[in-house]
Point group: C2
Chain length 358, copies 2
C-alpha cells in the first residue's frame, strides 16, 4: 500500500524527485560519483547552484533588486541573523505574533534592540491572523516581521499587510504554495524542509541594499553580505540540499508554476475542510474560517482518547505524521505541495469510516 506522508517537516517530497535523486545518487551525470561527493567549486555543482537560483527567481518572480542565497541553520538561525544584520539602533523592530515561531523570532531580536509587538492573536490561543489592514508599523521601523503560515496552529495570512518600513516574512511553511508579490517584501525566508527539499538549509531572498546595514562586528558567517557577495559559496554550502531544491523547483515548474500549484492546493484544502465541516461537529477546526491554513489543517475529535486512536489507526491505513504538534494536541494534516490529492481522498475516506465506527 502506498503510504501518504502528512509530516509537518521534514515532509513528503514529490515522488518523481525522490526517484530521480535515487537514480543518480551514486553517479551524477556520468561523472562516476554522486553530486554530494563533488567539490562545491566544480562546474557540475556550479550548474546545480545556478539552476536552483534560476528556478527560484522564475517561480517567485524575484526582482533584480533582491538576491537569492542559501544559509544553514534553518529559519531558527534567521531569527538571530535578522536582528544582528538589520536592526538600526533607535528604530524599533516590530512584530506580528501569530504563534510559536513568531514568538521565537521576537525573543531572539530582543537580545539586540528594542522590539514591539503591534499585532497578536496570543490571547486567543493563536486561532486566527489579526486584521492585516490594522497592522501599522512605524514608517521608520527597522523592519516589520510576520510569519505567513503558522505550522502548529494551522493559520495562514490570506493577504499581506501594506507597510512603509521593510517587510520581512518567515514563509517556512507556505513558500511556493501560492502566488505573492515578492517586490513588496524586503526579505522572505524559509527553512527548506516543507515545500523546498530536505532540512539543513534556509532559502533567503533579500533586497540587496538591506545587507548594507550590517554592523562591522558581526561574524562573517552571520552576515547576509557574505552570502550575497559569494553567491552562497563563501564556505562549503549544503550541496546535496541545494541539489534537491533544484529538483523540487523543477517539479514546481513542471506542474505549471505557482498559479497551477496554488489552484491544486486550494482544491486539496477545500476538500479537507469541507470534510471537517460536514461532520456535524465530530471533527472540528479550532481556527477561524478566514484564517485557515491551506498547508497545515489542524482539527480535533470529541476526546483526546479518540484522537490517539485516530492517529494509531491512520498509520495502519497508510498515513503517517497526522499527530498534532506536542504543544497543540489534536490532529494535524500537513498537506504541502508534494502531498497529492489522492492523499486527501485517503484521509477523507478514513475520517468518514472512523466517525462511523467511533
Amino acid at each position: 500500500m502506498k503510504v501518504f506522508n502528512f509530516n509537518a517537516g521534514p515532509a513528503t517530497l514529490p515522488a518523481v524527485v525522490m526517484e530521480r535523486a535515487q537514480k543518480e545518487f551514486c553517479d551524477y551525470k556520468g561523472s562516476g560519483c554522486g553530486i554530494m561527493e563533488h567539490s562545491h567549486r566544480h562546474k557540475l555543482f556550479d550548474e546545480v547552484l545556478a539552476h536552483a537560483n534560476e528556478n527560484v527567481r522564475t517561480i517567485l518572480n524575484v526582482p533584480d533588486t533582491h538576491s537569492i542565497v542559501y544559509i544553514q541553520g534553518g529559519a531558527s538561525m534567521q531569527f538571530a541573523m535578522i536582528p544582528m544584520n538589520l536592526y538600526v539602533p533607535g528604530k524599533k523592530m516590530q512584530f506580528a505574533d501569530t504563534g510559536t515561531w513568531s514568538s521565537k523570532a521576537l525573543k531572539e531580536a530582543q537580545l539586540f534592540g528594542e522590539c514591539e509587538v503591534i499585532a497578536s492573536s496570543k490571547a486567543d490561543k493563536y486561532t486566527y491572523i489579526p486584521d492585516v489592514k490594522a497592522m501599522k508599523p512605524d514608517a521608520d521601523a527597522s523592519f516589520f516581521h510576520i510569519t505567513s503560515n503558522n505550522t502548529i496552529y494551522g493559520t495562514q495570512y490570506q493577504e499581506f499587510p501594506e507597510v512603509e518600513c521593510p517587510l520581512i516574512c518567515d514563509m517556512s511553511s507556505d513558500i511556493m504554495s501560492r502566488q505573492f508579490d515578492m517586490s513588496k517584501f524586503a526579505m522572505v525566508y524559509a527553512g527548506a524542509q516543507k515545500n523546498l527539499g530536505p532540512s539543513g538549509l534556509a532559502l533567503v531572498v533579500i533586497r540587496k541594499d538591506l545587507a548594507e546595514r550590517t554592523p562591522a562586528n558581526v561574524p562573517t558567517m552571520l552576515r547576509y553580505s557574505t552570502y550575497i557577495d559569494s553567491d552562497s559559496l563563501y564556505n562549503t554550502p549544503p550541496t546535496f540540499g541545494i541539489y534537491m531544491l533544484g529538483l523540487v523547483t523543477d517539479w514546481v515548474l513542471e506542474q505549471g508554476g505557482l498559479s497551477a500549484i496554488e489552484a491544486i492546493n486550494n482544491k486539496k484544502a477545500a476538500a479537507l475542510y469541507a470534510g471537517i465541516d460536514a461532520s456535524d461537529g465530530y471533527y472540528s477546526s479550532p481556527v477561524k474560517k478566514d484564517s485557515r491554513s491551506r498547508m497545515n489543517v489542524v482539527f480535533r475529535l470529541p476526546t483526546e482518547e479518540l484522537e490517539a486512536k485516530f492517529v494509531k489507526e491512520s498509520i495502519a491505513a497508510g498515513m503517517i505524521g497526522l499527530k498534532g504538534h506536542r504543544s497543540a494536541g489534536g490532529i494535524r494534516a500537513s498537506i504541502y505541495n508534494a502531498l497529492p490529492m489522492e492523499g486527501i481522498e485517503r484521509l477523507l475516506d478514513f475520517m468518514a469510516e472512523f466517525k462511523k465506527n467511533n
Copy 2:
C-alpha cells in the same frame, strides 16, 4: 572505468555507504518514504541520531565529560561560535597559525576579544607545523586553538601539544583518520564533508562545563548549550546528513575502527610520498618531511604548464579532484579514509607514465 575521487571536500564517500543510502533512499526501513521525509521527532530518526552518537562516542573514545552535537554551518560557523561562547573577558584567546583555516578562525575571534598567535609557520608559507613542544599558551588563556590538518598546504600535526588551558582543535580534514586522546581536548570540531559525510553539518565534541561560559546575550542557535541540552534537536537538524554520518561511521567500525583505519591511511600516504620522493625531483613536495599530511598530499611538477597538463590527463585516466587549491597551485591528492588503496595505485601508475612522457 571506475573513477577515483581525490576531491578535498566535499569528497569521496565509501562506495558501500553510497550504495546503501541509494537503496533505501525512497523507502527507509519499509516506512514507505525516505529518511529525509521523516520528522526529526519520529522514532525512526531518534534511532538514526542515537546510532550516530553511539558510533562517534565509540570510535573517538569520547569520555562522559564531553557531549557530541551536530551544528549547521560547517567549521566556518564554529570560527564564530567558539569566541562567542568560550571567550572569557581578560583571558586571551591564543592560536597556532598553520594555514588559511587557522587564520580565518583567528580573524573571527578578533571580533570578540584579545587574541594572540603563539606559534606560526606563516613566514615560511605554511610549509610545516611549528614544534608542538614549544607551544606554551597561558595557563589561564580562554583557550588555545589549533588546526590538526591543513587541507590547502598539506601539513598535519604528528602529535598534539600538552597545555593547561582548554585545547580546541579544528579536525575538519583528518577527524577519524587516526587515533588520538579525546580527553586531552576541551573541544574538537569538524566539518563533515571530508571523512564523515556530506557537507552541511559540523560534528562538535565539547566538554560540557565549557558550555557554561556562554554570555547571556548570545542567540539561541549560536549557543553550545542549546545543542547539548536538546541532543541537537532544538530545531530541525540536517537529518539526512546525520543519517549519512551514521552510515559512514558504521563503515569505520567495520574497517576495525581508528587503529585499522590509521594503518591503512599510513600505508596509502607512505606509498604516495615514496612515489614523489623517488621521482628524482620531477615531483616535489613543498612540505617539510616531519609535517607531511596523510590526508592531503600536495606536490608540484617542474612547471605550471606541466601541472595543468597533469590535471587534464588525470581526468581522462579516471581521477578527479587533483588540482591544487586556487591559493596554492600545484597538485593536491586528498586521500581521505574512503579513498581506497587502488586509487593510490592508479595515481602512482599515472604519475610514472606522465613523467616518462613529459
